[in-house]
Every structure is written in C-alpha cells, then in structure tokens.
C-alpha cells in the first residue's frame, strides 16, 4: 500500500510539471527529430542513390528525368563483380597496403607521441608543430617529391612506396591524436612502475600502451581509412598490378567516352563494406579513442 501511495503521489506531483513543460519539450523534440531527419537524409541520400543505381539496368540508368524509385531492378551489376578477377586483385592490394599503413602508423606514432608527451627536451613544442606543419603541404607537392625519392631508391611501383607515402599523411594526425591520449596516462603510474624496477621499455609497453589502447585503435582506423580511400598516390606510385581499389575502380569503369555507372556503383557499394564492418566492429574503441584526452584531469 505504501508503495502504491508513493507511486500515486509521485504521479500526482509529476503531472503538473510535465504539463507545464510539454509544449517546450514537444517543440524541442520535434525540432531535434526534424534536424536528425534532415541530417540523415543528407547523409544517406548518396548511399541510397548509389544502391538504386547499382540495382538499375543499364538501359534505364540514364532515364530522363531520373527516377527516385527504380521501375526495374537487376542484380546483374553485382553478378558482374564476381566475374571480375582484376577487381579482386585491387581489393587484395587495398587490404595489404591499408593494413600495413595502419599498423606502421600506429607503431611509429605511438613512440613519437609518447616521446612528445612524456619526455621533456629542448625544441619539443617546435618539433610537434613541425610534424603538424607537414600536413599542410599540398598533396601534389608531396606526390612529386615522393615520386622522385622512390624513383631514385628503386621503390617506385612497390607496396612499400604506397605504404610509406600513405604514412606521410597519416602520421602527423596520428601523432597528435595519440599525444593527447598519452597526456592522460598518469606519469605517477609510470614512475611507480619504474620504482618497482621496470625498465622504460617495459613501462611503455606494459603500462602506457595498454592504457592508450582505444586511442591506438582510433588512430589505426583513421590511418586505414585514409589509405583505403587514397586515389592519386596509389595511381601514381604503384605499378598497375599493385594498385588499390580507388584507381582500380576508375581504371575499370571510367573511360574516355563512357562511364559504367551501375557497375561502378555496385562495386563502390561492395568495397565500402569492409570499412563499414571495421567501423562497426571497432566503434566502442573508436569513440573512446577519439574523446580520450579531450578533457584533462
């Protein structure tokens, strides 16, 4: 009975409050839903158009005016994908260079970020800004420089050229991202480990890095996506048999006179699935990694 009375009292008390706030709440909720709807529409419309075009037969893909809802549907373009061995080769190349780029970026940037965060030495701040400044160079300038360097060293056309070039533009942001994360690892923990006899190497690997794991995942994912999506470096620095998916798709579907839009859309949809899967799988680490270090203390 007491419980019932309490419920009843609570309900009675709550009602006038709700009633007073309802118009504001409804308005703000409606506004929020409209905003979410618009943003969702804005974000999903290209994906919708991509899927619709991929499912449209060639003859009707160019119908004018274009139709939002396809009148005919075909899986032909997805079937075509399975027959294209060349695309599979591009996919393998993409996986190889994107994974190695991500791993290399994380390894190098973790050590650099740790050095920026936990060591005090003259010129540290300038060095950090120098690392970030390298991100400001136009890509064309970097490309030509890298082309000359790789040509001179015999790396041109190789996976190594791709990985190293991708790393040049993933590293600065990874370092800054991870520096913020290492800043949140209490120095006292590392000092305690040192007092217990752990070497600096062991302290870094057994104390700091595990604590920075979400950040490492976020940085790795960032590097992976940048490498996965790059077009111009992959086209210029790799041999045809080592090119990745973006130039591969252009090679396969875009021509001087004709673009196989439905096939291109089907291929684009399929090749974006691994990235989507990676994001979904690593989402919890990603959110933690991106926000870690945002607030100190």
């Amino acid at each position: 009975m007491t419980v019932t009375a309490t419920r009843s009292r609570t309900t009675t008390l709550a009602r006038p409050v709700r009633a007073r706030r309802r118009p504001d709440v409804v308005r703000s909720r409606a506004a929020a839903w409209v905003a979410v709807g618009l943003i969702g529409l804005f974000g999903l419309a290209p994906i919708y158009w991509l899927v619709v075009t991929a499912l449209t037969p060639d003859e009707t893909a160019f119908s004018f005016p274009p139709s939002l809802i396809p009148t005919e549907v075909t899986l032909e373009h997805f079937v075509n994908l399975t027959k294209n061995e060349q695309l599979f080769g591009y996919l393998i190349n993409s996986v190889i260079v994107s994974v190695i780029t991500a791993v290399l970026s994380v390894i190098v940037s973790a050590y650099m970020a740790n050095a920026f965060s936990k060591f005090l030495y003259r010129g540290r701040t300038s060095l950090m800004h120098l690392v970030l400044a390298s991100q400001m160079f136009p890509q064309a300038l970097l490309l030509i420089t890298l082309y000359a360097v790789f040509s001179a060293t015999g790396l041109l056309g190789s996976y190594a050229a791709l990985v190293l070039s991708f790393t040049t533009f993933t590293l600065p942001l990874c370092v800054w991202m991870l520096k913020g994360i290492f800043d949140t690892v209490p120095s006292s923990l590392m000092e305690a480990a040192a007092i217990d006899g752990a070497s600096r190497w062991r302290t870094l690997h057994q104390v700091a890095l595990p604590l920075a794991a979400p950040g490492l995942v976020a940085a790795g994912l960032f590097a992976f996506v940048r490498a996965w999506n790059d077009f111009i470096f992959a086209l210029t620095l790799a041999d045809p048999e080592r090119q990745t998916l973006p130039p591969g798709l252009v090679h396969t579907y875009l021509g001087e006179f004709q673009t196989a839009w439905p096939d291109l859309m089907a291929a684009s949809f399929v090749v974006s699935l691994p990235v989507i899967a990676a994001f979904m799988f690593l989402q919890r680490y990603l959110v933690g990694g991106l926000t870690a270090g945002a607030v100190k203390g």
Partner: protein, 429 residues
C-alpha cells in the same frame, strides 16, 4: 620523466631500421611491372606501349590484339601500361619526366603540345611518309614543324541529329545555316514533352564547345599569337548562344555526359559529340533503333556556301626517346597504317582509320555513318588553335567561365570575352 638514455635511443633506432627493412622487402625487383622500364636489352627488342584504351572495356581486347599481333610477328616484347583517361596526361608527363616511361604512347591530339614541351618525343617523319595517311590526319600529329605523332584515329566533334524527332517537329531537311538551325530548334521546342531542342554544352566544364561556333561567326580565335576572343565575331557568337539559352532552345547545366543521356533517351534533337558517339549512345538507350535515326550534320554556317566548322579530334601514337624507340616507332606505324590491322580495329571499335587505304577498305567505306561523318564533318575539321600552348586547358576554362557568366546574365558578352582574353593572354606559354 628523466631524459632518454643512449640504450633507449639505440633501441628506437633499431626498431625504426627494422621497420624500414621490412618495407624494403616489399620493393619490386629490377624487372618489376609497369611501363617500359629500361631492361638493358641492347638489341632493343623490348619497349613499352602506354595507352588508356588498354583498360577500357570497349577497346581493350581490340588494342591488345594489335599489340599481340605485332609482338608475335616481330618477335619483340611489348610491356603495356595504362592510366585512366582523365588522369592520363598528368601520369604520363610525370613518368616521362622521371625517366620511367619510354616507347610508344597513345595520346589525345589535344595533348601533343604538352608532351612535345618535354622535349623527349621522336620525330616520326620517316614513318609518316611511308604510311599513306590523309593530310588532315597527318596534321593532327604535327607540332613545331615536326611529325611527332602518327595518327591512329582521326575524327571530329560535330553535330548529330535525331531524325525521328525532327520529322515529328516537321523538319524535313537538316539545317545548313544558323538561320535554318534556329528555325528547326524552334519547331522542335513546340513538341514539348521535355525535349531539349539542342543539348548544347552550358556547363563551364564543356563550354569549350562554343569555340567552333565562334569560328562559324568569323573569329579566328588566335591570329598568330594574338588571341582574338573578344572580337566582334566571337561576341556575336556568344550573344547568339545566349539568345538560344533565353529562348530555352538550349538547356542549362548540360555537359557532354548529360547531352548523351538526353539524346539516348530521345529527349534531344541535336547535340555535339565525337564520331564514336554512335556506340556510346546506343549503349545508354532503351531505343534499340536509335542508331538508325542518328544523322551527322555539318555545323550550320552563317551564310549558305560557307565552310562548316568542326573541331578535329583523334588519337595519335608518339614515341618517347629511349631504349627500344626504333622498334616502338615501327610498332606505331604498324598499328596506325597496316590496312588489315586498322580495318579490323575499325570493325571492332568503330574508330575511323587515318590512311587513305584504310578509309577505302570495304569494312570502313561500307559503314554509311562513318563515311558520311568523314566526308561531311571531318573533312573541314581543324585543330583547336589553343592546343599549341601547354596551358590550353586553362585557356579554354578561362573562356568557358566567362561564357557561362554571359549565359546566366552576370555579364555582357563583350565584357566577359574581353576578360577571358585578358586571362588567356597570361596563359600563352
């Protein structure tokens, strides 16, 4: 934290070295793929052939067949490479400059000046004199008084009509003058049903299509090194174009791809395209008989009896100096002038040959559309005069942007073209 000691520094250095070593292991060997690397073959039986067509679905099998035929007959090795058409010029330029590319290279005729400026193209005059090429074709491969390219296919960008729409509109004869053209467009406009009478380029990206119209109105575009865009004739051409735009006889925001789509769907009576349009449009159209309704027509002239204007279009094969250049030049001659080869190539891809014998071959001469196009349009086609400048693309863009400003009513034709000419002058190099 205490400063890093020497041991830690050495560990980090060791780790970095290990990483670099691991990456280096991924490096290709000396014979790694790609185009035309120097193989050290003193007999020069190995050379490269770089071509965007080698990777385009409609052409790759036919091009590869030519490569294979020459390689097996001449017992040479041809290393092929390909880049997408839109990135091709940049990629080839970079690789030639870097010494990574030599041998035969397919080029769009518009790119010849840019390639020639690298100073590495071989003069192919000896091959050209033996090939039996037509004069107009030979002109597409000439630059600076030299025959730097052997013409592979020579055509033009001209006007194509949908005769079915014209018949419905009551236009029985293809228009020969601009006045007749306007009258035909007006009749087509009355059909309604979303039909664009003339799917002319109105997007800046493709507004270079205005240049043949400027020539039609009497502007040379370039007189010596003097840009004449902005003269009375070019202003009159743009004002006429604007008049078509305002009367909705041409539509806003149309580029070549849009125009093809409109034409393929039976929603445009006229549009500009290259001779290869027939196959491209057919692939996009639900109307399987559309190609039978397509008719090439010379660009209407200002006064009856004038010379129709058309932009020369085509592909040439150039040879980049380096190991195997001699064999590459011979391959270029074979691919472009061997009658059986060029006729067979035409049969597969419908790109017109460049030799008199090739054009006379029954496989080519028997194709009415190609024969008509060659006779009516290509015969009087001329190269874009700005192609002689490496920055021709920027010059075209400068003009196109100003013409678009006129179309949308932001500037008068006179002011806009004067501005375009001023910008273009700075790009003549």
């Amino acid at each position: 934290m205490p400063p890093m000691n020497r041991r830690d520094a050495l560990r980090l250095l060791g780790l970095s070295t290990l990483g670099v070593t691991a990456l280096s292991a991924c490096a290709p060997d000396a014979t790694g793929g790609g185009a035309a690397r120097s193989s050290g073959d003193a007999a020069a039986k190995t050379f490269g052939f770089t071509s965007w067509s080698l990777n385009e679905e409609a052409q790759k099998a036919a091009v590869q067949a030519i490569v294979d035929a020459y390689a097996s007959a001449g017992k040479v090795t041809i290393n092929t490479a390909s880049f997408p058409y839109n990135e091709y010029l940049n990629q080839v330029t970079l690789k030639i400059r870097g010494g990574q590319l030599s041998g035969a290279v397919q080029l769009d005729v518009a790119w010849l000046a840019a390639m020639a400026s690298l100073g590495k193209l071989r003069d192919l005059s000896p091959q050209a004199t033996q090939g039996g090429y037509t004069e107009v074709a030979l002109s597409s491969g000439q630059y600076g008084g030299k025959q730097l390219g052997l013409p592979w296919t020579t055509g033009s960008i001209g006007l194509i009509a949908n005769t079915e729409i014209l018949q419905k509109a009551g236009v029985s004869e293809l228009p020969a003058t601009t006045e007749e053209f306007e009258a035909a467009l007006t009749k087509v406009a009355k059909l309604g049903d979303g039909i664009v009478p003339y799917a002319a380029a109105t997007k800046a990206a493709q507004l270079k299509d205005i240049l043949p119209w400027m020539k039609t109105f009497g502007s040379p575009l370039l007189d010596g090194d003097q840009i004449t865009v902005g003269d009375d004739a070019s202003v009159a051409a743009v004002e006429w174009y604007k008049q078509l735009y305002d009367a909705k006889l041409i539509a806003p925001d149309v580029d070549r791809f849009d125009a093809r789509a409109l034409f393929a769907q039976g929603k445009a009576a006229f549009y500009d395209d290259a001779i290869i349009a027939r196959g491209v449009v057919a692939g996009q159209s639900p109307d399987k008989s559309l190609t039978e309704k397509m008719k090439p027509l010379p660009r209407p002239v200002l006064d009856a009896g004038g010379t129709p204007q058309a932009l020369l279009w085509g592909h040439v094969i150039v040879v980049v100096e380096g190991e195997g250049a001699e064999a590459a030049a011979d391959f270029a001659k074979f691919a472009t002038s061997d009658t059986a080869t060029v006729a067979g190539f035409f049969e597969k891809v419908k790109l017109p040959p460049t030799t008199t014998a090739g054009l006379a071959d029954p496989k080519v001469a028997g194709d009415a559309f190609t024969a008509e196009w060659t006779e009516k349009i290509t015969k009087t086609a001329t190269p874009n005069p700005f192609w002689r400048y490496a920055g021709y693309g920027q010059i075209e863009t400068a003009i196109a942007e100003q013409v678009q400003a006129v179309l949308v009513g932001q500037a008068s034709a006179k002011d806009a073209l004067a501005k375009a000419a001023e910008t273009a002058k700075g790009l003549q190099k």
